[in-house]
């Protein structure tokens, strides 16, 4: 137990810091993923088959390929790409990109693919009559988008977004392979140096459970708040 104490002797504070790191990466990935999803949703809803094809290709590929492979692609691929650019400018040698950035980017891409599907479904769930009604009231363009479409899309998509958040939290465990010190990586380091993998893996499991349970509660409250008058 004293292995988990705070301060210099134990690993408690390191684990907590790693937990914050997981939370930070997940939040960045989620925000990035949701923003990235918007153009893909618009492409899926457009009438052009080229745009539809591109968006479908993106979501199918990212959702069909193991997350670990996607992380390998960007982790190894990005430093190779940057080293190539640097070599043009005469800089030879190994360049490593910030692991936090790459991690948030990879998980963000995965999140974007799933969010695209959720948001598209939510947009489609808004009855067409509402658009017609708002047109007949003279509400068009940006006012219709921000006043009618987006608020409802978010309300309908909220449970789906909650699921994606859980997925994002768990997917960040995979970016420990890039060396970012989040919960999984810290667990590996701590169990390696203390030879107590059981203790630290249980701790890691509990930290993840706390994160998922609390965010679940949060989404439940949000859902109840925003679905008032609908159920």
């Amino acid at each position: 137990m004293e292995l988990l104490s705070l301060g210099d002797t134990g690993w408690g504070d390191e684990m907590l810091r790693a937990c914050m790191m997981t939370l930070a990466v997940s939040l960045c990935a989620m925000v990035f993923g949701l923003i990235l999803a918007i153009p893909f949703v618009l492409m899926k809803l457009s009438n052009s088959w080229v745009l539809k094809f591109i968006a479908n290709f993106f979501t199918t590929v990212v959702r069909g390929i193991p997350e670990l492979l996607i992380i390998y692609l960007f982790f190894f691929g990005s430093s190779a790409a940057i080293m190539f650019v640097a070599s043009i400018f005469g800089h030879n040698g190994y360049i490593e990109i910030n692991a936090f950035f790459i991690g948030a980017f990879c998980v963000g891409i995965i999140c974007a693919a799933y969010s695209t599907e959720v948001l598209r479904g939510a947009v489609k769930a808004i009855p067409k009559g509402q658009i017609e009604a708002s047109h007949s009231y003279g509400i068009k363009g940006r006012r219709m988008l921000f006043g009618i479409m987006i608020p409802q899309t978010l309300r309908i998509a909220l449970p789906g977004i909650g699921n994606i958040w859980q997925l994002v939290l768990k997917d960040t465990a995979l970016i420990s392979v890039t060396g970012l010190v989040e919960i999984m990586r810290q667990t590996h380091i701590a169990s390696g140096s203390t030879r107590e993998p059981f203790l630290f893996l249980v701790t890691a499991g509990i930290l993840y459970l706390l994160l998922t349970t609390f965010s679940n509660k949060f989404f439940m409250i949000a859902e109840n708040k925003y679905s008032k008058g609908f159920i």
Binding site: G64, I65, P66, F75, M184, Y208, L209, T212
Partner: protein, 225 residues
């Protein structure tokens, strides 16, 4: 883009297909069996069994698969009692550790799928089956289970695809399945894009196959009322 390299790594990664499929099929099969047990425990009125099943599903669904794999591979091996017991025959092999972790993981998700399938059946059906003179077990076997399976088919095909993706994680405990081989080629050639394309094609093909097969099965078992 080096097409030759894509082709070569495609052939190399294909050698891991057998190992991947073995792990996926074994753990799906064992997971399905385990999940039926978990659902039955969840449906009993026995508080101990019921809360065990609840907390099992809660813990497995709330933690990343990577934690579960490491827990079985590194965590359990820490204790000499386990290393000296008969379980060690299974746990000393990375392959069986991977299968065990995936089995436990999929059983939790599958049990929720089956449970929601059962919940979707109108309660009156079970009651009328009993009124027709069936006992509870017969009603479960003849009336509830077949309908629950039919309800669960679409969600279960999703779970299979998730398992195909999840099987890539066992490469972190030294199993040389497709992702493990891909990783090895990447670190040898420093050509992540080519290797990604080669591995991606195989995974996408597998998932596509599952989707097509399950569309057929769904069509066969959905009856129009």
């Amino acid at each position: 883009m080096n097409f030759n390299l894509i082709y070569e790594s495609f052939l190399d990664i294909l050698k891991g297909l057998g190992a991947s499929l073995e792990i996926i099929i074994l753990s799906l099969f064992l997971g399905l069996l385990l999940s039926v047990g978990i659902v039955m425990m969840r449906l009993t009125k026995n508080i101990i069994l019921n809360s065990f099943s609840r907390s099992f599903v809660f813990v497995i669904r709330g933690t990343p698969l990577l934690v579960q794999i490491y827990f079985i591979y590194y965590g359990l091996a820490q204790f000499t009692a386990i290393r000296e017991s008969f379980i060690w025959i299974v746990l000393k092999e990375p392959f069986w550790c991977g299968v065990l972790a995936l089995t436990i993981n999929t059983s939790a998700y599958t049990s929720e799928i089956i449970r929601s399938g059962l919940n979707s059946i109108i309660k009156g059906q079970a009651e009328s089956a009993v009124a027709f003179g069936m006992n509870k077990f017969q009603a479960f076997k003849r009336i509830l289970l077949p309908q629950a399976i039919r309800q669960s088919i679409p969600a279960y095909s999703n779970e299979i695809i998730l398992m195909i993706k999840a099987s890539s994680l066992v490469s972190v405990i030294t199993i040389m399945e497709m992702t493990g081989i891909a990783r090895k080629i990447i670190s040898k050639t420093f050509a992540p894009i080519e290797v990604f394309i080669a591995a991606g094609i195989i995974y996408l093909a597998l998932n596509y196959l599952v989707t097509v097969i399950f569309k057929k099965i769904e069509k066969k078992y959905t009856i129009s009322y």
